[in-house]
């Protein structure tokens, strides 16, 4: 197991964002971490990647505890954040270069790979422009290209393809697939495009209101819910959970709409 999480919880004051979560990811898995808005996906990723301290629980990441030994753990992963983390004053190329130096990518590989990735996300021609002049989608593309620059043991992708056109999504996913197959990179990703999860993931965990409510392969989830797409299975699983709780009809509607929006 390259990622092991046991009884992980995170409280913000009195609010529990991640509630006693346990799961594990095998090496070379493409693991989809799905759930409605506010389920606790990003919070979990932030804890795994040393940006937040958990309230309780145990984590092993590539044989090392990111809570106690953050510096060592950071060698084993790369991450694409859900929200922006670019330096907008710098150019696209400069952002890539800075990342390459931070991750100690040798000079020769650095140049080749920056060019290759900027071409994949179709930003090569605009590499000298300041990022602040880019559109939202272009920034997103740069963010992903940068995240793929070094080839870590584990790649965390928090809604990587959010707001991107289908062509770009395809290019990016084939690159990720190749990394996974050729370099055994384990991928841990979240998405609201369930077709993406159905197509690429080898294992899925569904989290809702801080708790993991279902795990398995995409096929298993569909069989269990007797549906024929992951999207239907997802709605059935997260929807059922809402029904169980004592919500008013209006609340239920609101929750549903949130799910349907994606």
């Amino acid at each position: 197991m390259i990622i092991e999480v046991k009884n992980l919880s995170k409280k913000f004051k009195s609010f529990t964002a991640v509630d006693d979560v346990s799961f594990s990811v095998e090496k070379k898995d493409i693991f989809a971490f799905l759930g409605p808005n506010g389920a606790g996906k990003t919070t979990t990723i932030k804890i795994l990647t040393t940006l937040l301290k958990p309230s309780s629980g145990e984590i092993i990441l590539d044989g090392c505890d990111p809570v106690k030994n953050g510096n060592k753990a950071r060698y084993s992963f790369g991450i694409v954040f859900q929200d922006s983390s670019l330096d907008e004053e710098l150019s696209a190329y400069e952002n890539m270069e800075l990342h390459a130096v931070l991750y100690r990518i040798p000079k020769k590989i650095r140049k080749e790979r920056i060019e290759q990735l900027l071409k994949i996300v179709e930003l090569w021609d605009r590499r000298r422009e300041a990022v602040k002049k880019f559109s939202g989608g272009m920034k997103r593309r740069l963010e992903i290209a940068r995240g793929l620059l070094h080839h870590p043991q584990i790649l965390f992708l928090d809604e990587p393809t959010l707001g991107l056109d289908p062509q770009t999504r395809n290019h990016i996913w084939s690159y990720i697939k190749e990394l996974n197959e050729k370099e055994d990179v384990t991928v841990f990703f979240t998405t609201h495009y369930l077709a993406e999860a159905e197509k690429y993931s080898s294992k899925i965990a569904i989290i809702d209101k801080g708790k993991i409510i279902s795990q398995g392969s995409s096929r298993e989830l569909m069989e269990r819910t007797q549906t024929d797409s992951l999207e239907d299975a997802f709605i059935k699983i997260t929807g059922e959970d809402i029904r169980k709780e004592d919500y008013s009809a209006v609340d239920r509607m609101r929750q549903r709409r949130k799910v349907f929006k994606h």
Binding site: L51, L52, R74, D83, D87, E97, L102, Y103, R104
Partner: protein, 247 residues
Amino acid sequence: MAIIYILWLRQIKRFFRSKARIIGSIGQPLLFLVALGFGMGPIFEKAGEGNYIYFLSPGIIVMTILFSSIFTGVDIIWDRQFGFLKETLVAPVSRFKIVLGRILGGATTSLLQGVIVLIITIPVGFRFDIAMLPLALLFMFLIAIFFTTLGTTIGSMLKDMQAFHLIMNFLVMPIFFLSGALFPIEHSVGVLEIITKLNPLAYGVDGVRGSLTSNFYFSAGTDLIVLFIASILILLLSSYIFSKIEA
């Protein structure tokens, strides 16, 4: 080294790409120099304290470095808000290198602004001994390091710009006014004297003024030792606080 260098370079690039910042950082000291120099000069001289421009110019140079250092340090708040901070925090790089690269970069830009203001004081009437310039630059650099680090430490603890105004009014301004930059501190007594002696900037002002006009209040050695030790201490504090940041 490559990591410290690239983070240093980032600060330098950001500085040169922000025209407003460059103009602002030089405009204000120039205003102080002219307004105070010509407004207060006659009174200062009547009181028997000598040529005010000679006294004031080193003070204004130090003021420039003080404010630009604090600002570039506190910039870390923007890095947090724009998200770039996360990019550095997840990198497999020691926190100390990240902080050091940032601080060296910021300190370089504020030293540069200090030098520009130093050049501007010449047409206003300031004269100094060129041979002493390297010593003055060393003092200017130490001031820049200390206050960029202080700014970074403060910025690491704040989540937004609001609280920064409080820090500015209740920490930075008193440090400035009780440093001897604008008026002599020789005459301060009691509590003020103690505060002044505990103020690292007082040693910075004395170092720069002393080396440029050969008129030390403490002594070159004292100034150097105090600034050096203060800088080391704040660097350690800063990298400790930075390592506790959550994003």
